[in-house]
Symmetry: C2
Subunit: 675 residues, 2 copies
Amino acid sequence: MSDALRTAPPQTPIGRIPVQDVRPVVDHGARPAKAVAGEEFEVSATVFREGHDAVNATLVLTDPEGGEHHLPMTCTNPGLDHWVTRVTADRTGWWSYRVEGWSDPYGTWEHDATIKVHADVDTELMLEEGARVLERALDEVDRTADEEQVLVDAIRVLRDPSRPPVVRLKAGTDAAVEDELGARPLRDMVSPSPEYHLLVERERALYGAWYEIFPRSEGAHYDEDEHRWQTGTLRTAAQRLPAIADMGFDVVYLTPIHPIGQAAKKGPNNTLDARPEDPGSPYAIGSPDGGHDAIHPDLGDFDDFDAFVAEAERLGMEVAMDLALQCSPDHPWVAAHPEWFTTRADGTIAYAENPPKKYQDIYPVNFDNDPAGIYAEVRRVVQVWIDHGVKIFRVDNPHTKPVEFWQWLIDDVAKDHPDVIWLAEAFTKPAMMHTLGKVGFQQSYTYYAWRNTAEEIEEYLTELSGEAAAYMRPSFWPTTHDILTPYMQFGGPGAWKLRAVLAATLVPTYGIYAGYELMEHVARPGAEEQIDNEKYEFKDRRWADYEPGGPKEGRSLAGWLTRLNTIRREHPALHRLRNIRFHVVDDENFIAYSKRRVLPDGSSDVVLVVANLDPHSTRATTMRLDLVALGFEPGDSIEAHDLVTDQRWVWQRDVYVRLGPETEPCHIVSLRRPW
Amino acid sequence: MSDALRTAPPQTPIGRIPVQDVRPVVDHGARPAKAVAGEEFEVSATVFREGHDAVNATLVLTDPEGGEHHLPMTCTNPGLDHWVTRVTADRTGWWSYRVEGWSDPYGTWEHDATIKVHADVDTELMLEEGARVLERALDEVDRTADEEQVLVDAIRVLRDPSRPPVVRLKAGTDAAVEDELGARPLRDMVSPSPEYHLLVERERALYGAWYEIFPRSEGAHYDEDEHRWQTGTLRTAAQRLPAIADMGFDVVYLTPIHPIGQAAKKGPNNTLDARPEDPGSPYAIGSPDGGHDAIHPDLGDFDDFDAFVAEAERLGMEVAMDLALQCSPDHPWVAAHPEWFTTRADGTIAYAENPPKKYQDIYPVNFDNDPAGIYAEVRRVVQVWIDHGVKIFRVDNPHTKPVEFWQWLIDDVAKDHPDVIWLAEAFTKPAMMHTLGKVGFQQSYTYYAWRNTAEEIEEYLTELSGEAAAYMRPSFWPTTHDILTPYMQFGGPGAWKLRAVLAATLVPTYGIYAGYELMEHVARPGAEEQIDNEKYEFKDRRWADYEPGGPKEGRSLAGWLTRLNTIRREHPALHRLRNIRFHVVDDENFIAYSKRRVLPDGSSDVVLVVANLDPHSTRATTMRLDLVALGFEPGDSIEAHDLVTDQRWVWQRDVYVRLGPETEPCHIVSLRRPW
């Protein structure tokens, strides 16, 4: 390599019309930008030229079949030569895009002629030159007969000495000619940027409501007579699916369903002295009953699994599978492939450690020892589940495995199954989290659970909905089986309602861990996770108690979640990430944001959320709406329809709101012109 | 191209240890980063890995002969996985660099063993594993016998069961072992970033003091008897060179010296009715006497030019030539190559216009009509001047010619003359200005003349000294023959002193237009340029009048400029751009900044400038020094030596300063520890 550097390297041509700083571009173009089918996003570039002649730019979008679509770009900041357009790829597949800068002879002429003819400078010459530009536009660009006629008429008048010069000029510059040249321009010196890849995925990669269950808990109950737990099964868990579907969820996510190791099995609350009847952590995968390609015998068999998937599908839901690539000491891989693990200096296999802590129930896979073998085996395991109808994988701790492994796996699966979606549970530093998105993960868990103030939320959403949205899609979870923040522990019911609303409306994909309805807010002392963590024991939540007529009727948030999911389904603006805008509020305890989406029929869906983030106090503030961002004109009156309470108001720019424990923590309002 | 996109494009491997976001990278790596020989700059990258094992990074710098230099990188922000190192390329040529991420087995062991041995967990195992890591370091990395001995000793103690475990651990982790492994690390899974080009140019590309003259004015005088001007010549202009050299300038820049067209010649103050005796604008190039490859007969011939260059060289100065690629209607190219210009619909050649304004004395070259012919002719012209000793070209209005032309020209010249420097006079929008730097211009005029407030200056310098410094080098001119801002018109002597100081110390290259010494501040009404612009007439500045004993002794800033240039030469910190740091001042009328440079002998040169930007009022403020940025410790006392007044003070962090018309507008101080 270094030999080639001894002399000047070959120049990369700057192009006749320079096109610089195209965005989005991921990793200098090494990786694709991403979108879902029908998702609008902005492409921008810096396009400029020498001298005074007019410059212009086109976004050329190439579809998976190779068809090219020309989208005009607009200069939104002439001082910075900043050009933008909005792009929507309407179907999945590998697309690409480039920006073409070009010299605009019609624009040059129109600018100069308008000044000079009105100043009567070179009038005849300018009019003749206009006619010649339009002649070129006729000769060099394909048009229908009607389209041609617009230019033919203009040329005739431009050259008609019997008319006043301003009339002739007007013929060459009127809206019909401008529109025709805008749609089918005469382009000189066309200069393309590099071609950038765009991976368009199915909409579920961006938008969906998830619900997490431990299948063994659904239908589990404590048998008072036998003084032991009866496990739930895939069959009993399937009986819970209608309720989940009724709440409006799109994806049901199962924690691991594989055989659980008996060696070093953990007891309740992560204790080391498990009793034989304790079920163990489903994340300690593998036993003589099998590994990642097997089902825990207590849960059922593949027929039961198929029935579960079929029932979910019948209810309009997809099943997401947990992929936790770690092994209990009993995992079949350990005996068959000890070389897939790390052998220490004393000949033992290394268990997981975070010195000085040890996790004796887990053997991490060492991918470097036999990459080809491990890659192939994981690929085989994944295919087992794909063959049983799974198209979504929630990956446990992907940041403890080589990034290049995920890049390979996701790419290899996509070759035959491009509709498979991968969610990264990478609760780690930003570089890893972002890079996993860049190499293929469709979705990522996020820091949402720890972003509580308005300033934190706005800053985080600005990051997520900005350039990062081209490669990383956030999933917001107010709690998980491992996360119960102080805000949730101590915020009371208002906090639980609010954090669900924020998750469900700030981003298109959010997730709820079973039991959220019941506001299970008691933490294990010293930890930010639930006491009696479901990872280590059965939970019988007695759902029936909360149903109408039950002893705990009215004490569940199921209705609130149902309302939220209904609002999400009815409002396509909430299916998008990059369209979020924040509005000014006087009280820093409040947050206000909106999403707007223009629909194919030209109408707009506009949803605004304003919330009091202090779960303990009812507060009032004035909110100042950014009317232009909402799609209205300054001074417009707006009809605001509260989608929770069904109240309706007419709002102007400044809106007084009062929210908190006395009423509701937030308004979710649909906005439109009142006429 | 589009065919290849129908299926997934080949993946660009992320690498076993991901290396992301290497900086500097210009245009996604399409163009080189730039530096001058001996110029230190920072390279940074995001480097991280999966899991808990230690990650590390190396900057590999490849010199023009292909030799690789390994520079250790430091993680300055673990949360963001941000790694940096400082790079200095010691000679000109095409270099390259890449960042290598790697797994650090010694770092992993040292971290884990330190925790576990102190907790007495797996003690013997950890010590044995340490010995094995060091054995690998011995086996796999070249070392001298002495270097090996450090590791051999450590291994022996690690395995010596007669010693206490903490002593054995210490043997494997002490500073000698750490230093040896730091200098010659054991690197696993080495993962390189792409290779990026680095063009290292001679120091004059970054650092130099320029002085601009119209050669015909130097030695010109009005003959009272004959009632006409006698022109200066290259011979009389050469007589001015010792005075310019005495002021300490490094480059003397000549406005065009070519024959001037007679057609549509401009008279004084850009009037259209020139008299025969008016000299015309030297920017209206070309007459029957010749074009860009000729010398105006009034100025002399090539022998005179050679003598001028030789005299400059004798005085330690270089000559910068103006390259203004435009033609008067009399230029030989017009008759020989009418196709190199734009022919209008009426058959005439187009002159320059900015509708409705016309510039009948100038025909712009149309590069698109015959690129090959025009490129070759310009290349030939440039070679004429290179052959006569010119190695610096100041390019007039490069932004009115195709950017790709400059890319080609600069690259082609550099093939045989890599020491040629090009200065872009692109007073235009940022995109063009920056891109001209990216495609090859070594220097650029800037917006300095219009940046007057402290906030404006700090913002602009932050931009110029940041990422832009990798491809664009600023030249600061307080005035030019075309620029006389209101600040200079109305600021009085303090403004003239101050703006020279700022130009000379904010950036390494600055320029002075002849007459600055005399504070020629009267503008043509309605214009921001001097009245009686030297472009259109002779100027006899009667330099002798300002010399000792002359009638205007003491009324010139020549001494001030001499002092400034002396300070610049004596202080290598001022020869650099990227080392500027700003300090907090209480009064927004003040600005304070410093430059620090560590010299090869390990000593530091530190210069601080604090200035009152209000030329009309003496003001006082408190300045808070950023002692760490200056290379001191918090709480240090500092010796401050005023390089203008020769005063000395001892400063602490907070410094009271009082500056303005009553004293001087600024302090330029050298800082060092007082012991």
